[in-house]
């Protein structure tokens, strides 16, 4: 096990920059999830740590030692690929033991490592099978097994669950978490699935356009998104974002929406009156049918089973609300809503979070 330091890492493909100076310190034993939309550079960052891509500038250290010039084989890391990348001409046991055989480990050690890993992953009955005789979930397990037999310094996961169906994905997600708890290995996990990011991570790294947008615990990102990208990317259904202008006049500060509606904020913010801002509120924080609220039209009701998603429009502004209250299924064409000030997020013109001025 080891810590991983990523120090101002840049990566260009020809003239196209993919990573714009990424800094990240991963503690020994930490589970880090890189999350972001396709093309945000998260996979590229992972591959630079693995040594499958060279960095254009910056430094990567594993366990304190610079590894920029080291080949993947000399970095002592294991990686699980999205496509599993099992060796088709080897059976499960051979797939799992390949790394140890390359290192000329003793036969007894190989056998015990393989049976140990197979036991953890429930692969014992499959050891003699070739990959093509396995189901998707089993192949995924073999790929994990191949990573853990070696006890490497760090595990790298490149969207390992993307090819599985929803149910299996949930199951494997829990298994990966259990495995990490048992092994305590430093892990970097790349995904575009925010649920995976939220559930697995000690810390989530949200990336966009080759830049780290925010690093923090899952709930930190959810409760205090640093900017508009994180606010809209984390959470499903996504946070409602309304454009307006900041208004510090009157008893309490507020936001004036384009149609003139004023929404009260709690406490003043460090902003000039008249500044263009974006107001954010999560769908589950929209209060329905308060005593005195804004009139809203219900345009669509989506029951998810767990709860209900209501598509609303407030003076022609689209808005989404989420509620667990099933009586809302029969709600009429109109309702009223309110925005509790303590649940409002404010972002300035550049999209960065604005904090309350105390």
């Amino acid at each position: 096990m080891a810590s991983i330091d990523i120090d101002n890492v840049r990566k260009n493909y020809g003239a196209v920059p993919v990573l714009h100076g990424v800094d990240l310190t991963i503690k020994d034993g930490e589970f880090i999830v890189l999350v972001g939309p396709s093309g945000c550079g998260k996979s590229t960052l992972l591959r630079t740590v693995a040594g499958l891509e060279e960095v254009s500038s910056g430094e990567i250290r594993i366990g304190g030692a610079r590894v920029n010039e080291r080949h993947p084989k000399d970095r002592d890391i294991a990686m699980v690929f999205q496509s599993y990348a099992l060796y088709p001409h080897m059976n499960v046991a051979e797939n799992m033991s390949y790394s140890l055989r390359l290192r000329r480990a003793a036969k007894e050690r190989i056998a015990s490592a393989v049976s140990n890993a197979a036991g953890k992953l429930g692969l014992e009955p499959l050891l003699e099978r070739r990959p093509k005789a396995l189901s998707g979930g089993q192949r995924q397990r073999v790929a994990m097994g191949r990573a853990i037999v070696r006890q490497p310094k760090a595990f790298l996961f490149d969207e390992p669950l993307s090819n599985l169906d929803a149910r299996l994905r949930e199951q494997m997600r829990a298994e990966i978490k259990t495995l990490h708890r048992d092994l305590g290995a430093t892990s970097i996990y790349v995904t575009h699935d925010q649920i995976e990011a939220m559930t697995l991570a000690d810390r989530v790294v949200a990336m966009h356009g080759g830049i780290v947008q925010q690093v923090g615990s899952p709930l930190e990102l959810y409760d205090r998104p640093a900017n508009l990208f994180v606010a809209s990317f984390i959470g499903s259904p996504a946070m409602n974002l309304l454009k307006g202008t900041y208004d510090a006049s009157g008893a309490e500060a507020g936001i004036v929406l384009p149609d003139g509606t004023r929404i009260a904020l709690s406490g003043p913010y460090a902003l000039q009156s008249g500044t263009e801002v974006t107001l954010g509120i999560r769908p589950e924080h929209v209060v329905l049918s308060p005593i005195d609220g804004l009139p809203a039209r219900v345009s669509l009701v989506e029951p998810t089973g767990f709860g209900i998603i209501l598509h609303l429009s407030v003076h022609d502004l689209p808005l989404i609300a989420f509620t667990l209250d099933r009586t809302r299924l029969q709600s009429g064409p109109t309702t009223a809503i309110a925005f509790p000030p303590e649940h409002l997020h404010l972002f300035d013109g550049a999209g960065n979070r604005v904090v309350r001025a105390n």
Binding site: S83, Y87, P131
Partner: protein, 276 residues
């Protein structure tokens, strides 16, 4: 999908018609080779002679230089196939996996070599090989055949390598393999069908090549069997029976070769590597 009965019948008939068309010359070759000389012309258009004999085979094997031609062809075709496949595997892998300067130029250059009618090159090649003492030698033939087959074989191998997911090598490298070990232990075993196809293709090409064999070789010592076959054509007559018998014999190695490699040709070895 359910295929109608009529569709199946038509499908089978079409295959049958094609097979008959493709195999009829072969059948005729065998038929003539077992027809005794006295029946050759009197029963010329019968599908099968009223009497068969192996006299042509016996004559070819015992009284002609054919065994020598046969041996020469075997040496030339096997050497060419092996050398070309080794070169093409390495080159095809490089084209498939590495980005390097001049790559596009190399590909274009190799393509260019495929655009000339070979006849144009006979004279210059003869000119080049004569001072080197490589005319009238099997080595000369192997060199020429190798040169002509490497470009196409390289493209062939490249397409096979392209079909193998890159992640497999990456996984191998992370598991602790060098680039070459990943190539030898992971990629090469998966490319066996491609290697077999390339071997077979080059072997048959070299086995049946006539133009250069005819131009570069004079005399029997280094003649290959296509050249040898021509010796059955004399100024005044063609000895069809013996020629066909020699032809049948010449088919044997090619058949054996494909029997040997067909297991790899049909096997989809990469199944199960990645999701699918």
């Amino acid at each position: 999908m359910r295929v109608s009965f009529l569709g199946t019948v038509f499908h089978r008939l079409a295959i049958l018609a094609y097979l008959l068309f493709a195999l009829f010359p072969l059948f005729w070759l065998v038929k003539v080779s077992v027809t005794p000389n006295d029946l050759l012309y009197s029963e010329g258009i019968r599908l099968w002679p009223s009497r068969t004999s192996f006299e042509h085979f016996r004559f070819v094997l015992e009284n002609s230089a054919f065994p020598l031609f046969f041996r020469n062809s075997l040496i030339v075709a096997t050497s060419t196939a092996v050398i070309v496949t080794v070169l093409a595997s390495l080159a095809g892998y490089a084209f498939s996996r590495f980005a390097f300067r001049g790559r596009a130029w190399l590909v274009a250059l190799m393509l260019l070599t495929q655009m000339f009618p070979l006849v144009m090159l006979v004279a210059p090649i003869f000119k080049m090989l004569t001072p080197l003492g490589l005319t009238n030698s099997l080595t000369g033939l192997v060199i020429v055949y190798t040169a002509f087959n490497v470009p196409f074989a390289t493209f062939l191998m490249q397409s096979f390598f392209d079909g193998i997911p890159k992640e497999l090598e990456e996984a191998a490298k992370i598991d602790g393999a060098t680039q070459f070990m990943a190539f030898r232990q992971i990629i090469l075993p998966l490319t066996l069908p491609g290697i077999a196809a390339t071997l077979g293709f080059v072997f048959t090409a070299a086995w049946s090549e006539l133009l250069f064999a005819l131009m570069l070789i004079s005399g029997n010592a280094a003649a290959t069997f296509p050249v040898g076959l021509l010796s059955f054509v004399s100024k005044f007559s063609v000895d069809f029976g013996q020629m066909m018998a020699a032809g049948v014999l010449a088919l044997i190695p090619a058949c054996l070769f494909f029997l040997l490699i067909q297991r790899y040709l049909v096997q989809g070895l990469t199944a199960g590597a990645v999701k699918g």
